[in-house]
């Protein structure tokens, strides 16, 4: 795709995102029309309260207190995971990479539970900060370890990277269950919170997730040209003038952070970072300068719709992570088969 079409792509993706967000806010036990959602949102602006005047108080509560935080959380988690996936696929020059497959999610989950356990055992009170910090440390740690295990001199065999990620994920998941089994008083609640759900999201939580994933996506987009150069291999990228070690560290750290920040709030949501860049690459091509911001936007749309499906498909709420896991797992298998035939 030529660069002059990039603006159109972004506009189309933003429109889709807004539409998905309206849909996600509209549908539920109480159906609320788009126009009224717009009025309620406008009415949230200080001094504009009259705009939502005349609407049922119950609707305003549902939109402002319940649905918007859920929809926006799904949006920003999707932005983070897809942006992170697109840049890691570029860095490891392979379309089979995803923050979940590579071990970041499992590391994040372990860090989250570890932070919670330590703070509860010590009676130190609210553990949000250590949970976020440890989620990042273990998420970043696992991807770095998987990469170091996989690397063979100048080559990075993808099978090694995937196996390294899978081994680390298995190890960290067991370690997480160990912590939950021995140190957590209400295991079901913690296990449920790791399954991936935006159901209990609040505006305060959004204040953490939104800036990290938005700023992260923007910064990574400006590393798009570096990531393009990585397609020539690390050695080739060096010869093109990329400070490979520095770029790699920055891109990995930001991509890990964008995934790890979501885990303490919504748990593990897998495969978004795999599916979205894959779909978008078919339309816009592999240039990371459009692929990363595009994936971030499409990821937001995809996760809002997945979350809607998790709420609206049945009378029960199916955790979001289960929906994306089923979709993404099947997609991953399809990719493996398609590659074998290619």
């Amino acid at each position: 795709m030529r660069r002059r079409h990039w603006g159109l792509v972004i506009i189309a993706l933003v429109l889709a995102l807004v539409l998905a967000a309206l849909l996600g806010t509209s549908i539920g036990t109480e159906r609320i029309p788009f126009l009224d959602i717009a009025r309620i949102i406008a009415g949230m602006v200080p001094g504009m309260e009259h705009l939502s005047g005349g609407l049922p108080e119950k609707w305003i509560t549902i939109v402002v207190r319940v649905r918007l935080p859920i929809v926006l959380m799904a949006l920003f988690v999707g932005v983070g995971l897809a942006g992170s996936g697109a840049s890691m696929q570029g860095l490891f020059r392979n379309p089979l990479v995803d923050p979940f497959i590579i071990g970041i999610s499992a590391g994040g989950a372990f860090g989250t539970v570890l932070g919670q356990v330590i703070f509860n055992q010590m009676g130190w009170g609210d553990s949000l900060y250590p949970r976020m910090l440890l989620s990042f440390i273990f998420g970043f740690g696992s991807v770095f370890l998987a990469y170091s295990i996989a690397r063979r001199g100048n080559r990075l065999p993808i099978a090694n990277l995937l196996l390294g990620g899978i081994a680390l994920s298995a190890f960290l998941t067991s370690a997480t269950y160990f912590l939950i089994y021995f140190f957590v008083e209400n295991p079901t609640e913690v296990i449920f919170s790791l399954m991936g759900t935006c159901g209990n999201s609040t505006w305060t939580e959004l204040l953490w997730v939104a800036p990290v994933v938005v700023i992260g996506s923007i910064v990574l987009s400006f590393y798009g040209r570096d990531l393009n150069a990585f397609s020539a291999g690390e050695e080739g990228a060096k010869h093109l003038g990329v400070d490979v070690e520095k770029s790699k560290l920055i891109i990995l750290a930001i991509a890990s952070m964008m995934t790890a920040i979501t885990v303490p709030f919504v748990g593990i949501v897998g495969f978004v970072g795999l599916i979205i860049p894959h779909m978008l690459r078919r339309v816009v091509g592999p240039d990371h300068r459009i692929l990363i911001p595009g994936s971030a936007l499409l990821g937001g749309t995809f996760l809002i719709l997945s979350d809607l499906a998790s709420r609206a498909l049945t009378d029960m709420i199916i955790p979001l992570g289960i929906i994306t896991g089923l979709l993404g797992g099947a997609f991953f298998i399809y990719l493996l088969i398609a590659r074998r035939e290619a």
């Binding site: 660069r3 570029g90 020059r93 392979n94 379309p95 100048n154 400006f222 590393y223 040209r225 570096d226 393009n228 150069a229 397609s231 020539a232 291999g233 050695e235 080739g236 060096k238 010869h239 093109l240 003038g241 990329v242 400070d243 490979v244 690459r281 091509g285 592999p286 240039d287």
Partner: protein
């Protein structure tokens, strides 16, 4: 242009691969590096391209120790063409060649038409302009290699380093590529250092050749001085016949 001063190199403390290499490459030369497998040709090239780290004070580019030169600055002076490059993503040939502009562009800068013209020129000189909209993954080995060479030329380097660049090319593309190198080299704005396997190709295109044996420079000089029966028997252990002329021919007996 390039000065190598008493360069020793070994991989992770193993046996020495390069033993006290001294070499000066002057501006505008077309230097061929020849030698049997394991003689250190590729390692020497890797040391110059900083793929392998050398000690301070061993390799100088325009008088500056290469360890003191930043990657971007280096990429504006030196371009490298590897033996082969693997591609996973379906970039077009034009996109791949445009990556050569990386060291000339700021992080927040978009390619202006000037950059586009430089890339076009590089692609035309390697005969890849007509392939520009094709995906790199769909090209043949030879076509792909020519796109990679176009990318190297788009860096607008003063020194081009080639590691057996025509290994995967058929004879017509080999000649086409090397002739275009020769043209650019003879215009005086491109110094070329290339590892060759084929003595006749080296004889045809190089202005100077270096014969390596066991990590040492054994012979160094103009083609008709260096490529003689005695030197080739000494370095390769093979008896050959030499036909003087332009170009000089090496015949396997």
């Amino acid at each position: 242009m390039l000065r190598i001063s008493h360069l020793n190199f070994s991989y992770n403390g193993g046996p020495a691969v390069l033993k006290g290499i001294d070499l000066r490459v002057e501006e505008g030369q077309f230097l061929g590096i020849l030698g049997p497998n394991g003689s250190g040709k590729s390692t020497l090239l890797r040391c110059i391209t900083r793929s392998d780290r050398v000690e301070n004070g061993s390799v100088f580019l325009r008088g500056v120790d290469i360890n003191q030169i930043g990657r971007r600055e280096m990429a504006r002076m030196v371009a490298v063409v590897p033996q082969e490059e693997l591609h996973e993503f379906q970039f077009t040939a034009l996109e791949v060649a445009s990556m050569g502009r990386y060291p000339h562009l700021g992080r927040f800068e978009f390619e202006s038409p000037v950059h586009g013209r430089i890339v076009e020129k590089a692609m035309r000189s390697t005969g890849t302009w007509d392939l520009r909209d094709k995906r790199i993954t769909s090209l043949s080995g030879g076509e792909k290699q020519r796109v990679v060479i176009a990318r190297a030329l788009a860096q607008e380097p003063s020194l081009l380093l080639l590691d057996e660049p025509t290994k995967n090319l058929d004879i017509s593309h080999t000649l086409e590529i090397l002739s275009s190198m020769e043209r650019m080299n003879s215009k005086g704005d491109l110094t070329v250092v290339a590892v060759f396997h084929d003595l006749n190709l080296a004889a045809r295109y190089c202005s100077r050749v270096v014969l390596l044996k066991e990590g040492r420079v054994r012979y160094d000089g103009a083609v008709d001085q260096v490529l003689n029966r005695k030197a080739i028997l000494d370095v390769f252990g093979v008896n050959v016949g030499i036909r003087r002329g332009d170009p000089l021919r090496v015949d396997i007996l």
